[in-house]
Subunit: 321 residues, 6 copies
Amino acid sequence: MPEDERPIQPVSGTIMPRYAGPSTFARLPELRDVPRCDVAILGIPFDSGTSYRPGARFGPQAIRQASRHLRTQYHPDYDTEPFVEQQVADAGDVACNPFNIEQAIAQIQAAATDLLGTVGCIISLGGDHTIAVPLLRAVNHHHGPVALVHFDAHLDTWDTYFGAPYTHGTPFRRAAEEGLFLDDASMHVGIRGPLYSRHDLERDAALGFKVIHCDAFQTEGVAHVVQRIRQRVGAHPLYLSIDIDVLDPAHAPGTGTPEIAGMTSRELVGVLRGLAGLNLVSADVVEVAPAYDHAEVTSLAAATIVYELTNLFARKGCPSE
Amino acid sequence: MPEDERPIQPVSGTIMPRYAGPSTFARLPELRDVPRCDVAILGIPFDSGTSYRPGARFGPQAIRQASRHLRTQYHPDYDTEPFVEQQVADAGDVACNPFNIEQAIAQIQAAATDLLGTVGCIISLGGDHTIAVPLLRAVNHHHGPVALVHFDAHLDTWDTYFGAPYTHGTPFRRAAEEGLFLDDASMHVGIRGPLYSRHDLERDAALGFKVIHCDAFQTEGVAHVVQRIRQRVGAHPLYLSIDIDVLDPAHAPGTGTPEIAGMTSRELVGVLRGLAGLNLVSADVVEVAPAYDHAEVTSLAAATIVYELTNLFARKGCPSE
Amino acid sequence: MPEDERPIQPVSGTIMPRYAGPSTFARLPELRDVPRCDVAILGIPFDSGTSYRPGARFGPQAIRQASRHLRTQYHPDYDTEPFVEQQVADAGDVACNPFNIEQAIAQIQAAATDLLGTVGCIISLGGDHTIAVPLLRAVNHHHGPVALVHFDAHLDTWDTYFGAPYTHGTPFRRAAEEGLFLDDASMHVGIRGPLYSRHDLERDAALGFKVIHCDAFQTEGVAHVVQRIRQRVGAHPLYLSIDIDVLDPAHAPGTGTPEIAGMTSRELVGVLRGLAGLNLVSADVVEVAPAYDHAEVTSLAAATIVYELTNLFARKGCPSE
Amino acid sequence: MPEDERPIQPVSGTIMPRYAGPSTFARLPELRDVPRCDVAILGIPFDSGTSYRPGARFGPQAIRQASRHLRTQYHPDYDTEPFVEQQVADAGDVACNPFNIEQAIAQIQAAATDLLGTVGCIISLGGDHTIAVPLLRAVNHHHGPVALVHFDAHLDTWDTYFGAPYTHGTPFRRAAEEGLFLDDASMHVGIRGPLYSRHDLERDAALGFKVIHCDAFQTEGVAHVVQRIRQRVGAHPLYLSIDIDVLDPAHAPGTGTPEIAGMTSRELVGVLRGLAGLNLVSADVVEVAPAYDHAEVTSLAAATIVYELTNLFARKGCPSE
Amino acid sequence: MPEDERPIQPVSGTIMPRYAGPSTFARLPELRDVPRCDVAILGIPFDSGTSYRPGARFGPQAIRQASRHLRTQYHPDYDTEPFVEQQVADAGDVACNPFNIEQAIAQIQAAATDLLGTVGCIISLGGDHTIAVPLLRAVNHHHGPVALVHFDAHLDTWDTYFGAPYTHGTPFRRAAEEGLFLDDASMHVGIRGPLYSRHDLERDAALGFKVIHCDAFQTEGVAHVVQRIRQRVGAHPLYLSIDIDVLDPAHAPGTGTPEIAGMTSRELVGVLRGLAGLNLVSADVVEVAPAYDHAEVTSLAAATIVYELTNLFARKGCPSE
Amino acid sequence: MPEDERPIQPVSGTIMPRYAGPSTFARLPELRDVPRCDVAILGIPFDSGTSYRPGARFGPQAIRQASRHLRTQYHPDYDTEPFVEQQVADAGDVACNPFNIEQAIAQIQAAATDLLGTVGCIISLGGDHTIAVPLLRAVNHHHGPVALVHFDAHLDTWDTYFGAPYTHGTPFRRAAEEGLFLDDASMHVGIRGPLYSRHDLERDAALGFKVIHCDAFQTEGVAHVVQRIRQRVGAHPLYLSIDIDVLDPAHAPGTGTPEIAGMTSRELVGVLRGLAGLNLVSADVVEVAPAYDHAEVTSLAAATIVYELTNLFARKGCPSE
């Protein structure tokens, strides 16, 4: 590509030590500093939909801070240079009203819809899982209904909490009601633990979800899980929604509703790498609650997953290995 | 007093070690277990009015857990046996909707109003400072307007945050608008730090508050501060609202909007002891956010302050020393 | 079942947010509030038998606090509604003398023996592993010798420590001497690491234990381990004693004598689920030392395991899958 | 002032919650975004001169993160609107070689000298105290020798450590050798604790320093200390170098060489406020080591002090109260 | 003094960085490496007398680790070179049975009595306060009854806990019964908070104690407190027993029974410095529980106090300033 | 062996509780106290080669403190009594200049070369990975080039960082240039994550390394990895260099450059046990940064690995199982 069209790179770690310099994700350029943008990183500091331990409002900053540590030039597992092959930039944070869930949802929807008008796709940094609703609306606005692959310990398809329709436990019920995802191409991955009712799984299935229980990683292995996901998603436009609590609390203590018996981070990046070539259109990584983190274990996991996603975007449409 | 009218005591530490046994405040009886109650401890686990670090929803449980450690039989600084001279009991928690501030306020107001119909007074465990509005309403319902002495780093008389009238930065503006406190008998104690506007102090004064700056503890000393408060409050019914962030972050790191240059815990208990004899009608201790605490420093401070308040209730109406 | 015989349920999370309300395990009713009880949760806050990092005296309260977070209505992996199919209640804490090990053991034995006279079975919350001796005595009083399946990093069959016969490293030697378990139906699971002597394993075997080394989870897999346990236990009355340090320190840092190279929590719940249908008569979960925990990782693991056990009780005697 | 000359303000907390938005100090504009700049905030992430606990390289980012929490519009203790009365902006970080102390010093000196060519003055965020040497050189380049008022637990006038002339224990010896400060107008404030030698104080005095022992705050009070500083500094251009360990570890645990029996944060801001009107030309706040911090106690203290300094710049040359 | 009689010095920080080298207190020689010893540092890792948060068994190691950080050559506030003017050495730890309080007391008594046969005096590192009894016995064996000055939040003169006569709440009752201290020369300093009974203070006074309430530091000041202590102690042989919880939890969170409204570390070292010249014969610093510490705040306070004590020994018998 | 030639044992845990007594590794004798030494434990507290989170200078002390907890008499997985079959002793720390990398390297090289003149082999406790260069030089001095098996998340074969040839990211490039290892017998194990350049792996291979990706533990299993290592190393003298960050952050948060998707500690000890019988000549365990650790999780992992290594030395030359 002509030099003046080459993507603007992150600040180099050979000049500015990685613990210093800009506070953007991976020290990438700000959106205002790039002429065009393929993948935008968008902070959504909102946690008023949280039912247990709050604090995901500090997630975007914590993920960005942890992302300083990443080496980002070349990823051998994807054989990609994700910041060279495409322009990635940090689009800053959406201003969300912490005292009014509906208004915050509207703000997020507007910001994401606008942003998708000018950038290719978005990786959103949560924030709690409530934000998946306006993000899916924005994606639908541009792409129509998507295959939704949802990594989480929990189904997040409950109806209401305390009468509230929009919370971090209900986004995919709302999304189903609005037809935001393809009910024959969507699934939950990593689900585990007890439920609110004997009927939760049926109701969830009725919305169009298949479930890959977290135990499958132990009993079937990563490769088999990958195959099941690829088969279900096919060539549909894909939205990945990754709740960090899909990881075991050993790997992600800093989250609001941890659930033991979870995935290892090695399994999670293993699955993601297996999705190379799929038609990924946008994604989110949510529920990092830094007040419960230690030594950046959780925010580094989230930052690495975001980086992995940039590799998936770079490999988008490429034939799978 | 006849033996069968003697207050029911906390579980004795000579039988059940203090780290064990019931999880009520100071291992006191539950409200349902006492025939009458002079002072009720009421948990209000609500933090949806928080503007910065959330988590005060876990405050009541953390304060109760820290309160196990208290020795409570006799307080030499008050010369009181607060649990012998009056029946103190734990009234449990108010169910507050975390997703609807207005509904939560209504729930708190109803619960506190009801409770004050059967108990003498309430010490509320926050929860964020939003809860002061429904608590003051309940107190007004029973006592009419009160002298409000408000310990805090911040004025909490701002108008709205993001359009929301009820947040933890605005309760005393709302209270003023509703005439819930006596504008010639109220004051802020411990205020410090920068403000949102040059006019904050004037506007605050217009609501009827006097301000004792936190530096006064350094320059004038505790005894003088006590004198200023007693003078202003006089014989009016008194409501004490104590935001734990009135303490320096060294003494109370576990809070949502810490402000350096604060009070020591020795100064705070010193002031409280100086208020013995005043006509205290109810009180709250708010803004303990355990996720930011360490080694129970903050929750122990809050628990001790609550216990100090029970001594003030025991000394209520007694002539001051 | 007739409505008035239906078990009293935990406080509903749809009315009272899970972070609020009673401090009983999983917000279950207290024992005094139920007409009958199938499974009692009993706190045993005792840690004077600890040889390294103390603090398990705070274990019961920490496990109860973490248990707030549990969703408990329906467990799909067991197909049970454990609090509907049986009455589960919190029996509070045993008062244990922290300064006199023998007296504490007597207190625990008396309390558990009494309790088993009125409830079906007990899940004890430690406390250090010393408590297994009086608990096994109480169980023997009602059931005779039991198959003992002991999850732990350590054998706990040493003779004495500093001359003391009752410590957290010696309970199963004492139990063997008293004939409290069936020597042809008992085993240790998860054992690993170095030993005090070349002869430890022989001596342990002489007491009747088989050992499943922790590596077996890696080399044989969960299903095979389950099979070995079921085969050995058969139809005997079963007592499960679960030292939280059977988990790797990544999954359970908050314990007194951590040992690396341990089980994942996914493996542990996998094994437990495999034991469905066995004739479980009582159980303990011990050695949670909250001062060394972070973000409730350990106490949540323990709380979840306790909940899993309630499912095993619900499935007791049911044919295995 | 004409509207188009009015300073560009920080992102407003009424639009973007303070926990979100840009990661600049107090969410101020970046230097590149302002037409002129009166006070520049400059990060100097360097800690290779540390003799005990390292980690101050993460200081600038931690201070900026904590500074989000500040309310900055109006400071009643100075009667200033520091971001309205002058343009304050964030100049980002200096790239410092972590493996070559001399080169890092040259980099800092060059960056600061350049910057002072275009901005009025600098508040540097350390980094360890080594950085005071190149900063003083830069200030001397523009202002000539300055009155140096140094807040610290330690003298920092030792000769060499392990043969190294430039470390965080030696900057003011080097500065003295180069004549960078006025030897009749400089002093240490907050000094305490034991010394390396009986002769440390004499040698220090020979360099031109007066010492205000930390006990003076207890025995003489803040007002008297202020008077002693003002007297010694007079109308000279003033450089303030503030090592966060001048605060007691209770107020600033997150630092490399803590020393007990220190100042409270209330005393420190009290002294700073007392310096209003002096001819402050630049300043640094150093030795924040976030890995040892808790709940942002230390970084919030540092951020608040930096903000206080912006008020001192706003009041510079104004007559003292 | 002849060179070969000069005390053996700690490892020099100019050769071996302070974070490295031997793990003795302040990197002093071991007792076995010195021909004679004036002041021995003795670890007493025992905490089985603890009533609330255990863990002081790890106190000695934590204090030694924190002591690495101390600069120890010259103390300007005493004008002493404490390791030059006298031989100070680390005598290691006493082996204490954690499962048998009486035996542990016997072990401590024997070890301390023996040690005092060959060294001038002992500074003991606790361990919980139970250890004061055997230490006072050992001191009495060599010096007869002593003036006891006891710094603590609590009286520690209760009778028994759970029937146990030797616990951390009862040492000075036992000591009184045995006549181990002079009842006309002893006092508690720093006492505060509520009591177990209205009669605690009378009973305590009957044992011969005067009490300096912690508030005295606020109302009277350090100098006056010093005067009261010196007056009471006079020329008697003096034993100092310092419970770290005499400090406020802000200054010493890492302890078992913290009590708010305590002393600052500046006040404590101020008082100690005021005792220069008194006839100090031995001392202890107890109740450091590292599991509750943060950033070594508590263990550094304890280590510094131990070092201050070595200065008091160096100034022993010197005329007061 | 004759009794007077039997190795001197660690302090017995039956006499001195493990939390007490000497601070040497596993409470082993100091080197000066043994007549001969087969395996020396050597602390190398140096971290000035760190590129991200510093603090490994505190590694040796933290590993020694955690090692107290180890039971060390007999290891059933090796069938060894490692401290009986050979004399193991603690050689203390090397004095390393923190301000001069080259001088520190010379100090380490001299110390290790000297030590290997009198002891059989060394296990070094880092410190950052820079120290591998002087350690390999010392080993080469005595043994010639070695097979190098390097456990790490990172290749550590980069050329320079900020112009510095000796850093923790470059040791094995330097070692290759100096011919310190056998280029047909060396390998990296546990490598994962992104790289600085598309060419990193080729360049690394050109130095003679084979790479076992961390995923191999998931896809191939431990036994297969062991086989690959044994095949490559053969009978060559073997040096093991173990960067603790080869473990997943869940298992080792306390390190400077954590990388998710790592090995479990069970996999790591599994591999090490598989190397029994190989001709191990020395080893290091590096990059423990205690300021980022929690509950000793990381330092206990490192201490256990060091202990495992002593078993490998005991099994050296024995036929493999």
